[in-house]
Symmetry: C2
Subunit: 540 residues, 2 copies
């Protein structure tokens, strides 16, 4: 067969050729919405490649982006890899320390920065050792005031570029196309490199009818940020398959999400549970037409069963669990019913949907514990291991690789059970499991049960050191506004009681105004654990 390489150039070229009139809707600020066609995006992408080349970016060089979900970021998604360079998407919410570390560690040569993020980089600019140019992605006609040097206006550069720039045509599919850093339990973030081949195969997987089925008829609006594992790969697949894209820019609120789903007739969207908890609240307060939605993907953390139930039953929204990690590009599983399972009761179906789903074609999974490989019986738990077509094999120039990548498998750090049908159920992160008197308690199970209570907005359960039992669970709960002061700790404990073994019940329940979250919206349990370190006294 022909030795055709799996590279990103074919994606953008296909959009240019077959979907020139299809739109990308991009909100760069609360007041500014752009509408560009793929024909325009294609020309601008080629211009950007040519401009980066003039700025000295060479094959294999890293180009960093600090940007929200918007069209210029999408242009960089293709312009950088399709000239043979490497797209390094950076989470601008990291600490200054970590930002400096990853930019220097990746040796970024050029940074593309959204205007409102410029101050963050200005603060640390003197510590950046490899950056030779800052390109500011502003809507303004002139370059905003900045201490970055040399600084360029994205649009001003683009008009000097070559909109017919030919993309690199000899890229080997195993060359790096992108990279993303993931936070570590301790120490500096760890870098993951994505090859062209990995991203292309992952994109094919996203188009499968049995996964997300991304197609030409879709209007895709990823809420997950483009600096977070390539917005789960959605911009790549959407461009290749010719979907309309909606990119929401900065300051995304539940209200904004609902408004855009309604006005742009969004068919598929994706985000973390905290986003969908917020959107549910918005739907309870205001009315929107959500009928265009065929898929609301929830990933990044396990969604509470109550959330799934409410979306599906109350609003008829096809809320679907997916699961993956930075190291896995990220798609590992999608939780859809198998044929025949639609004959099950609502409750049984919900039980399946609340799991993370089956490994998608191209991947293999297993769970291991101290006894070896665990049975797929839905009961035995162990650390989830994965291998396959778009799984990383190491961290970028990082000695910690050998802890996570062993014997050809990636050790996810997630504790899971796998049932007879192959559905994975995440039990916890290795580090979030609670070890009480030698037995494991799943913080996720307790959280999901709590969040299924009508009064509970959010809940996180963490391990707190205990003199006798080693660790005991403590629940941190945010009540819905209308239930503030109307529900007590005992109410919630009585509610949990019939659902769990007695020794699983939290030793305490703390009501908070809000839960601390990571920069991508996951509960920051590490911080809660830190705060609650001395909470349980020997007398308890």
């Amino acid at each position: 067969m022909m030795n055709t390489q799996l590279t990103l150039t074919q994606m953008i070229e296909r959009a240019e050729r077959y979907f020139p009139k299809k739109e990308v809707v991009s909100r760069t600020s609360p007041s500014k919405i752009h509408r560009l066609t793929y024909a325009q995006i294609g020309k601008r992408t080629r211009s950007l490649s040519s401009v980066l080349e003039k700025l000295g970016v060479k094959r294999g060089d890293r180009v960093g982006t600090l940007a929200w979900n918007q069209h210029r970021h999408l242009e960089a998604y293709f312009a950088v890899p399709c000239m043979g360079a490497v797209l390094h998407t950076i989470n601008m919410r990291l600490s200054d320390d970590h930002l400096v570390y990853i930019i220097n560690h990746a040796e970024d040569k050029v940074l593309l920065i959204d205007e409102d993020i410029v101050p963050i980089i200005e603060k640390v600019k003197d510590q950046l050792s490899t950056v030779t140019a800052f390109i500011i992605m502003t809507d303004k006609e002139t370059l905003p005031e900045t201490s970055l040097e040399p600084a360029y206006s994205y649009e001003a550069l683009l008009v000097t570029g070559d909109e017919n720039y030919p993309f690199c045509n000899d890229i080997d599919e195993n060359e790096p196309a992108g990279m993303c850093y993931t936070s570590a339990t301790t120490g500096k973030p760890k870098g993951v490199v994505y090859s062209h081949r990995g991203i292309v195969l992952h994109s094919l997987a996203l188009g499968l009818a049995d996964t997300k089925g991304i197609s030409e008829s879709d209007v895709n609006m990823p809420i997950v940020p483009m600096f977070h594992v390539n917005a789960w790969g959605i911009p790549f697949a959407s461009t290749w398959f010719g979907s309309k894209q909606v990119l929401l820019g900065p300051n995304v609120t539940p209200k904004l999400i609902c408004e855009f789903i309604e006005s742009e007739k969004v068919t598929a969207t994706a985000g973390v549970p905290t986003i969908w908890i917020g959107v549910l609240k918005e739907l309870e307060e205001n009315t929107y037409d959500m009928s265009s939605l065929r898929l609301m993907i929830c990933g990044g953390a396990a969604a509470p069963k109550g959330l799934i139930k409410q979306y599906r039953e109350k609003y008829g929204i096809p809320f679907v669990h997916a699961y993956g990690l930075t190291e896995t590009t990220p798609l590992l599983t999608v939780s859809k019913l198998k044929s025949g399972q639609s004959d099950l009761t609502e409750e049984e179906q919900l039980e399946i949907r609340a799991k993370q789903g089956m490994a998608v074609p191209g991947l293999e999974v297993k769970i291991i514990n101290e006894k070896g490989e665990a049975a797929h019986d839905g009961k035995e738990i162990g650390e989830l291991l994965v291998r396959g077509l778009w799984i990383a094999d190491s961290y970028y120039k990082d000695d910690r690789s050998k802890e996570s990548f062993r014997d050809g498998w990636f050790y996810t750090g997630d504790i899971a059970a796998i049932d007879e049908e192959g559905y994975i159920k995440l039990v916890d992160r290795t580090k979030d499991l609670i070890k009480s008197g030698g037995e494991w308690i799943s913080s996720v199970d307790l959280e999901n049960a709590l969040m299924a209570h009508e009064a509970v907005f959010e809940a996180a359960v963490v391990a707190v050191p205990h003199p006798k039992w080693q660790e005991r669970p403590v629940a941190c709960v945010v009540l819905k506004d209308s239930y503030r002061n109307a529900v007590t700790k005992d109410d919630l404990l009585s509610y949990l009681k019939p659902q769990f073994a007695k020794w699983w019940l939290p030793d305490d329940m703390i009501f908070l105004e809000e839960l601390p979250k990571t920069s991508v919206g996951k509960f920051l349990k590490r911080e809660l654990r830190e705060q609650l370190k001395g909470h349980l006294k020997p007398s308890v």
Copy 2:
């Protein structure tokens, strides 16, 4: 990223693991229907691998099959490539001469033969120079009488095999997995080799929502034979994604097809136009419940517009054009409407559906003529060239490779136009185009117009040598039974007149009882041309 290879082993292993109870329905004779689960198919497949190994089949050896669509053939589809050998599917309808040629040319070591095909091989057995074993796929308990030597019973061998046989785990994705010979305009058939990588990527393409969207919830019944380009890849994708499969065995009639669609609730089926012309006739005469069908794929040749229209409008069956060739694994295009196009009039939509569609992701196409690359304006025509992830780069040990594979492209031998939206319209085979007075006439356009006439069952238009104009079109027409002797040549010519330029109209119209067809059901125009060589006299 991990160096995971794109090999077929993952497909069957996934079916075993995730879909053990899903069924394969197999009709091996008019009176015998088998129902096996993927758990059973998996064990039997592994047994078959182990048995072939014992018979001396080694890495890279070719194993030939002469069989209908049935479960043992499906087992061979995986047992052979997953042990590192090469599956050579053989069209048993070829002439003895061609059969001998391809078996010897491929150097098949073992042949797997359906019982009713044994006599065909017995006739030529003394000319086979490389075959060391004949395995007869019979339902009988004992081996039928045969002069083949050594001959084995498939089932008897299987019970001696190892149902836990571990598939080869170090196959390189570029190793050959299968091969299929295609007939040549002149000379012996030409062999095409499919790599593991090519078949896996092709299978991913078949699962895309925008192509065939093959999924777990499907009941797939390919009518296209498993000896013809791997039944268009459907058995591979169906197994990988866990679809139920229905394999119809020998002596497939329109009635049988309709009965199985109804009884097995088939969701997707695929065949050549002549099959669907027959099924349409059956539907006009008898009533069936076809409501389970979500996709009726028509490929192998251009379907007449009238056929598409009748299926869609009269029976509400989603009849979809696809196009490909033996050299292209085969999927090249699928003709679906783009979003927005569903707002067009019925007639405009039909116009699009009657085209072959856009190149699927992973492939590139262009058309060239004597002036170079032709414009994509829907008007300029030229030979269609294709390249991409599952396109052959040569014929197996064949000097004719250099005619068809040049400059990194495969020259399809098909004449096509491509419109602004990227839809390909086949105009003709290079060799079927009619050159009249220096201008091209499309035989396919004339045929499609004729077949849209209510009285016409089938029509083929061929070039007949003409002393003045070089070539002129002559139409060969089969009328529907109820119209026999009720429609004249002049009726049909008057019907064509308003639709074509005067010089396009056929010089003669010949009524036949039936049209000669190739072994895969395409019109055998070569034979008609041969018969009509002297048909047009100088005086005409």
